[in-house]
Amino acid sequence: MQDYLFYIFSALTLLCGALIILSRNPINSAMFLVLSIASMAGLFVLLHAFFLAAVQVLVYAGAVMVLFLFVIMLLDLKVEQRRRINAFGAVTGLLAVGVIVWVMVTTMLGTSLPAVTEVLRHEGGTEPLGTLLFHQYVLPFEILSVLLLVAMVGAILLSKKDLK
């Protein structure tokens, strides 16, 4: 059952990912991104990362996407009129990606990953995660808050009308 779910979700993720690139309209791209992310949340659930799945949906599908859509509407982006095929871009892109894929595949096939079932399964629930976060990783967590603050200040500053 879980295996099937995995295949479904992963297929959905990849498909939506492909569609992000292929669709002309940025709004469509954004929508496919939401879908892709949502199905990835499904994969997270399969991996028992429940908290993360929730956060993924909340942050990406909720916050980030809204931001994207706002910007798209703010800038009033039109559908790309003609898809000028950037030959250089396409060739190099495919080439680069091909190389990366090849390297990754060969790497993965060449390494042995840990056996699956013997390992104790941690439930990726909120509680163990929170414990870990506020004990071992409390300092990065706090620093992250500063980062967010900085990002907020930066974003506000950048969006001010009279940008010098």
Partner: protein
């Protein structure tokens, strides 16, 4: 105690002039500037007295030489080991050096006194005397040096003091150029000299004359390099004594004040080369060395060349300068025909009468308000009686008129050439004697006889006594120099102390040339008569020079010094140094500065420009390159 006194007297004589130079230079603010002449004269007078005492002491005790006093100037390495080097400063007090010292200090003293009058009122009065003292010091250093290096040191110092004195009126471009030329020409000679010293040192292992003499006494490995070493050392003399082909500086050096010309460029410094050759004669005459022969011919050639040039010069000082050149060539010729005695003999007498001539010329120039062209003069016989008579004495001595000093010494050289079998040199010698008489008679006739050719010549004023007394005093040895047993003294010295000294009487001495070598003496007298007759025929009351008309291009060539200066300035120097320096400059600017340095920076810049093309500004290209890089890194790290 007494011995110490005598030994240290040499140092005293050497250092007094230096002390005077330093005192005049540093003591300017304390009144030494005004007293410059007195300090300087005092120093050289004391030096003269010291030399005299030393000479008499040596003569009376009958020693060949006083013990050397030396102290190490520079020591490197342990003594006796390989790679050790030691230079001493020491004094060689023997007959040769003491007679030379007497000449230097004696003539020097008179010229110092003369200068006091000649330069009165010149703004550089004290500088002049400081330089003159420095010169006396350096010259005494050469004379007294007991090793090659010390001689070289003073050799250079003499060069620099000569430089300073020639360039005394440095604001005159001619003087400034002349001193430069003199110094550089001398430096070329010194180049050979230093190489010669290095060669001798590396083969014989020492630079001291005494030890070299011992080394050279027994057969050794010096033979193969003897010729080349001798010639290299001769290069030094070639520069200082202005032998062909380095003779060009001496006439130009006449830009200096006339007393300087008398002291340095007639009597003493230019004779240093000859003195040095005599000093190291044992090296030059080393068995198997061909050096002397070449030296003799160079000397003979110089003598002839300079005499020919002198015939057509019009500047009174230049005539004397070329005459000096010619006489120096004579001396070198004497050394070359194995006659250091004759060379030193002529050197001594020449110092007297040539100094006399120059000082006389100075008096004439002074009287003529610094006019030096002889064709502007004339009829000065009556107006400048003292100058005339002393100058005439000098002229007769220089020509070698019998019973004047020049007669004996010149005859000694001719006799030596005959004795040595160098008939070519003998003929040159006779020819030069005739030419000498010719141009000197021309000079005397034009200047002192005839009628005044310019307004300055009509109202000359005789020089003050301070200038005339040196003339009178110098005239005495110019006349009787041949009777002073100088030759015998030197003969005694060069024979290594084995010869018989002082056994002939005055009367014998008077007629000695005719006894010793009648052929030489008679041909010398004949040459004088011929030369004098020609000059008399041509220049007796002549208004202008008739010779150019008769000789045409040859006279022009003589007047233009056979174009040696032009040859050097337009061909030789451009072809060597100028060319090379241009090439070097071009290489420096274009190849090293341009190709290498700019090339390196240019290549960097070119690489930068080439890489700039990659900066298309297109984000995606950057991204691609980034990915390519990442892929490469991953590949290297993981998939290998």
């Amino acid at each position: 105690m007494e011995d110490h006194f005598i030994e240290n007297l040499g140092w005293v004589a050497l250092l007094l002039p230096l002390l005077s130079a330093v005192a005049i230079t540093l003591g300017g603010p304390f009144g030494a500037r005004r007293a410059a002449a007195k300090i300087s004269i005092g120093a050289v007078a004391l030096s003269f007295v010291a030399s005299l005492i030393l000479f008499l002491y040596l003569h009376l005790t009958g020693q060949p030489a006083l013990a050397e006093t030396s102290f190490p100037w520079l020591i490197i390495g342990k003594y006796g080991e390989l790679n050790n080097l030691q230079f001493n400063l020491g004094l060689q007090l023997d007959t040769l050096s003491l007679v030379m010292m007497l000449v230097v200090t004696g003539v020097g003293l008179l010229i110092h006194i003369y200068s006091q009058g000649y330069l009165a009122g010149d703004p550089g009065y004290s500088r002049y005397f400081a330089c003159l003292s420095l010169f006396t010091f350096s010259m005494l250093g050469i004379v007294l040096a007991d090793n090659f290096l010390m001689m070289f040191i003073f050799w250079e110092l003499v060069g620099i003091s000569s430089y300073l004195l020639i360039g005394f009126w440095y604001h005159k471009p001619a003087a400034a150029d002349a001193c430069k030329k003199a110094f550089i020409t001398n430096r070329i000679g010194d180049f050979g000299f230093l190489l010669g010293i290095l060669l001798v040192w590396s083969v014989l292992g020492s630079v001291g004359f005494a030890s070299l003499k011992l080394e050279a006494a027994h057969p050794n490995h010096f033979g193969p390099v003897a010729t080349i070493a001798g010639l290299l050392i001769f290069c030094g003399a070639m520069g200082k004594s202005a032998q062909f082909p380095l003779h060009v500086w001496l006439p130009d050096a006449m830009e200096g004040p006339t007393p300087v010309s008398a002291l340095i460029h007639a009597a003493t410094m230019v004779a240093a080369g000859v003195y040095m050759l005599c000093r190291v004669y044992f090296l030059l005459s080393f068995p198997g060395s061909q050096a002397l022969e070449i030296i003799g011919w160079i000397g003979g050639f110089t003598a002839l060349l300079a005499a020919l040039i002198a015939v057509q010069q019009n500047d009174i000082k230049r005539i004397l300068a070329y005459s000096t050149l010619s006489q120096l060539g004579y001396m070198v010729m004497a050394v070359g025909s194995h006659g250091p005695t004759a060379a030193m003999y002529h050197l001594t007498t020449h110092a007297f009468f040539k100094a006399l001539l120059f000082l006389g010329a100075g008096a004439v120039i002074h009287a003529m308000h610094h006019e030096q062209d002889i064709w502007q003069m004339g009829g000065l016989r009556k107006k400048l009686p003292v100058t005339f008579w002393t100058f005439l004495t000098g002229t007769l001595a220089l020509c070698g008129v019998p019973f004047f000093s020049g007669f004996y010494s010149k005859d000694s050289i001719l006799a030596q050439a005959l004795k040595n079998g160098s008939y070519g040199l003998f003929i040159i010698g006779v020819l030069v004697a005739a030419l000498t008489t010719f141009y000197m008679a021309r000079l005397a006739l034009v200047v002192f006889w005839g009628s005044a050719r310019s307004s300055a010549a009509e109202h000359p004023h005789e020089a003050p006594g301070v200038m005339l007394w040196p003339l009178r005093i110098l005239a005495v040895p110019s006349v009787i120099g041949g009777l002073l047993f100088i030759e015998a003294t030197f003969e005694h010295f060069f024979a290594g102390g084995h010869g018989e000294a002082g056994t002939i009487t005055w009367a014998e001495q008077l007629l000695e040339p005719l006894n010793a070598s009648p052929a030489a003496a008679l041909s010398g007298i004949f040459a004088i008569m011929v030369g004098g007759a020609f000059a008399g025929a041509l220049y007796w009351k002549a208004a202008s020079d008739p010779l150019p008309l008769r000789l045409g291009w040859f006279a022009r060539a003589m007047r233009n010094r056979f174009y040696f200066d032009e040859l050097y300035e337009r061909v030789l120097i451009p072809a060597t140094h100028e060319l090379w320096s241009r090439i070097a400059q071009a290489i420096d600017r274009w190849i090293i500065g341009g190709l290498a340095v700019r090339g390196a920076s240019g290549a960097t810049e070119f690489a930068g420009r080439a890489l700039r093309l990659v900066q298309s500004g297109s984000l995606q290209t950057y991204a691609f390159l980034l990915v390519a890089g990442v892929a490469a890194v991953i590949y290297c790290l993981l998939a290998r």
